[in-house]
Subunit: 337 residues, 4 copies
């Protein structure tokens, strides 16, 4: 069992999760280097996970000859530069979503990736690797539900975590770029088509601060794809019950609904509140296994030297659509792509 | 559309429900007479429902020539006498469960019924007339689940209504006679067999008063039927979430579960308690439609002069089994029937 | 208990359901007259329900002095004339939805209703009277879910009944007028606001015939209301599992979902297909109780001489919005109301 | 991060799962030695998992100075000898359930364990480590549901795998020893009490072969514990829908139900069969995470030198109760413990 030697750049909350997976839960990987702007943090994680090399400069990590592949979990704006450094140093790359904070930068990344056809590049839309989504996708590909008529996507964050969300919001890119981009990727993947027109709306229903950022705390968008499939997405920040990501695919012969009530465990509680299932309270719990599978798939591509998806074009396209959503949201007008 | 002219004896809480059904919701019946020991109550209901005749003496009601059928909703101990009065006056009878408060009295009722083969006698085990139970029974009879292996029955009352329950408890006959008898009837009906051995246990887990009445607030019983089908029943008085009657039939080819979460409506509530469905809060809401259907079926039997089930033997057998449960509960020993 | 003496115009499939309810299931009504263009049909139903008067001419029924209120269940195009005849004859009116087949005619009906302030006029959007919808509306009015952010509405018909649907489709007015109008009414009712902009899309995914009628077999629409609440509706004709009407209201403090899996009974079936709940197979079964409650509420308004909702303006507004949806669907453009 | 160096004895189907976990999914363990009677199999797994030492003789593995702890996944009858060899060689032990195939042998193991107080001994009742069971146990310990009234346990195997089950059945010890012992352990754990009386019944409903082994294909047992808590368990081999392990704990203040419909993923499928969730099809998928957590907990005990549960007494007690169940099943009589 050959293992891929991986270095990680960025060990914040999500980066730490990736680091733990790469070091201890993914059989095909060995975590050999950690880089973080906060060097103390990098050292702490390295010690905990027994990782030999620690860096505060991404370039230094990428030049480490022991590193074969780099996992990038830095802020969105820095993704293009990190990808460039890593690939020019000859490293395979798994980069967190979104690809970049502008479409222009996405196109630049496309060039970098194109210049290194011998290297694996994969974008971290982890939902595609969640068991339930894989089951659904396979049923669609099997023809079990016929042609796709409508994809409905919900991405709701628990209001319990709103303070952290608000702190992060100004530099997040906003609901469409930061949150809806997951659903945009799902819509492209599940319909196997591209949106041709869309209309996005929303508002500040509970957290008025979003107005200052030209954003809404709850937004939605209706799209129609080139193959006529329809898609509706809703993203919200005020879910009382928890982290609720739900996706439904209505087809001409059947319907699939993923995580109608995204329960944190198989326990039903019967109490004075009725018969209740408790929801996930944070996204890391919800997607824990998906992140592990994502890293496994990435490592397999590196080991087998095969092309990975989601790829760089998935990154550009989803970013472009997210910006079109935002444009529509701001102008109030329907947009043709 | 010929209508059956019905008189009712007893218009307490459940009797009033029956009276409303007979007067306004059952197309095949006309409520023409009301009798209640509390004559003022009888008058009040008669006025509300525009019923012409009011009595305080059951005999008088039964002698009313306008009355064709009598619905008996008095206390259990009086059922045999009421049945006798009614049938000897030539009236068809629908009697609330249980048939009587002792097996001996049940056997006497059997004689009364046998003496009037021209009259319809039906016992009010209303669960058999609930849509979900009818659907399940039909699937079993269709062979959809193969042979019955196990019937599991829950009858749980909401703790919110415990005060009323406790007030009624001393003269109710106890959990087995008053409450489990419904499940005993279901077990006999769904397995199409009779228990051959049983063991009942229980205790006073929350409401210690039951000890004074040689009873438990929560009891259960395991049975095996002559055809080897197993049955488990549980009756409780402390359900925090509401009125929870659930029945499962496990077969060799499939399983049916009725009212796993007996929801009062189709509304799911997502809140800080999770994703919740609210339960029925009382048995009259749960079984409203079943009581209407029961009266419709009874009226059809009268109009078509056909034999009704549950019949008098169902009454005797379920009462006998309920007493055997109680005997086992008190002695701690397994009992062979 | 005073009863309202009701005459019904139209006893086709849905009219027959109403007739049975008025004659046998609604305590406050007495069905005294039936009119149908097909006189033999009218006679047949009258005989079955023991209704004394039979007509083939609506005017004749409305002139019957024994009739106090008229229930109109004729084709949509004839509603305005029927309402006029009935109200000018001094009768209270319960009219099936939609109010009329054009907005202009709706406005004429408004005048007729305005001219008879002493008479009750009620429009038959029966979903408002379904128990689950009433529970949800009450929770919203209680403030349980805070402010409404999004209303999501599904109206899916079983593909099993498509032949009947297709036969009726050409004169139905199309998905938006015939089917979505229910959801439009719900959106107005649940948000307590009016749409200010909308975009409708769709296509012919399974039944290409709809193209000939400038319609889609599956359509959807995104709306934003004056109070910023968002609404999404989807209407489809190809649901493999049955009649699936689902409504979700996402609020700032909680979410309500009505009929996530609209199960025909409380039975779960465990088989080689998994753990399954069977859906309603037709709308009359789904809405049976709602139609009864609707008639009860109407009768109460007549008896108490109070103003009913949904009223004539609800009819005009929902029709207007439905036509705007259709306009958007045909033009592909967003519409501002 | 110190890692426990583990050797495994037995790499059949379940042993292989454990080996993969120890080698690749449990951060605190390193798999350093594999032993299997089938040496070729041992070598194959060792190669796949890059394990340096391979043995066919358990003694040899236990004498390997590199091995700190031994995981035993051999047939039940051999457990006592394996435990003895390992502990006398100074190794910590995690042994698969059941502890032994007779109560006498369990008592001998108790002596072995008692002779080595410095070593960790843990018994592999993995259900205790499943997330849902841990959540439930914690709620009980928190007092969320008050006192335990009833524990209901289902262990149903899919009929799809019956051939393998039948092949293994003659040497499995039978339903009570092999299958129900999981539920017996859960009952003891969840009620924090010991059964004082029980009655077990069952039969051969679908697979008549079990009669030859003095066993049933479907069996059940009712128990009462010393603290009066009741318990009902059912074990079956004919579940059409899959691997269905469900546990419910009814308390005086609330109820917990674990895996009412044990769904393999979060996907609901709407088709002509209704609204369906697909069940787990095998126990390894259902309990995958529980096995990982079990090994993590074991390793933590070794690293921290703390006492583990389930311990050797849990093994003896559950085995004893399982044999009492079998005795009751065979005699038809209630048994007092």
């Amino acid at each position: 069992m050959k293992k891929v030697k991986v270095g990680i750049i960025g060990v914040g909350r999500l980066g730490y999760e990736h680091a733990c997976n790469l070091a201890t839960r993914v059989p095909q990987t060995e975590l050999v280097a950690i880089c973080d702007g906060n060097e103390a943090r990098a050292k702490e994680v390295a010690e905990e996970l027994e990782v030999p090399a620690v860096y505060s400069d991404p370039k230094a990590l990428c030049e480490d000859p022991n590193v074969e592949a780099v996992v990038i979990v830095t802020n969105t704006a820095s993704h293009p530069e990190m990808i460039k450094i890593a690939m020019e140093a000859g490293k395979h790359v798994l980069c967190e979503k979104p690809l970049a904070d502008t479409v222009e930068k996405c196109l630049e990344v496309e060039k970098v990736v194109a210049a290194h056809p011998e290297l694996v590049f994969m974008l971290g839309f982890m939902r595609r690797f969640d068991k339930s989504y894989r089951v659904a996708k396979q049923k669609i590909d099997n023809g079990d539900i016929g042609d796709v008529i409508l994809v409905r996507c919900y991405s709701q964050d628990p209001r319990a975590i709103i303070e952290g969300t608000l702190a992060f919001a100004p530099k997040s890119g906003g609901q469409f770029i930061d949150m809806c981009i997951h659903d945009i990727d799902l819509i492209r993947w599940l319909t196997a088509s591209e949106p041709k027109s869309l209309w996005a709306i929303g508002g500040c229903y509970e957290f008025k601060q979003y107005k200052d950022w030209d954003d809404g705390d709850n937004v939605s968008c209706l799209m129609q794809c080139e193959n006529d499939a329809m898609a509706f997405l809703f993203a919200g920040r005020a879910a009382a019950h928890g982290s609720h990501v739900e996706t439904e695919i209505i087809g001409t012969k059947g319907t699939l609904r993923i995580a109608s009530t995204p329960a944190d465990s198989m326990v039903e509680v019967m109490s004075e509140h009725g018969v209740c299932r408790e929801c996930f309270q944070d996204f890391l719990t919800r997607w824990h296994d998906a992140y592990v599978t994502e890293a496994e798939v990435f490592a397999d591509h590196v080991l087998n030297n095969t092309a990975a998806t989601p790829n760089v074009f998935d990154g550009t396209k989803s970013t472009n659509i997210a910006y079109k959503c935002k444009e529509s949201f701001l102008s109030g007008e329907k947009i043709t792509l």
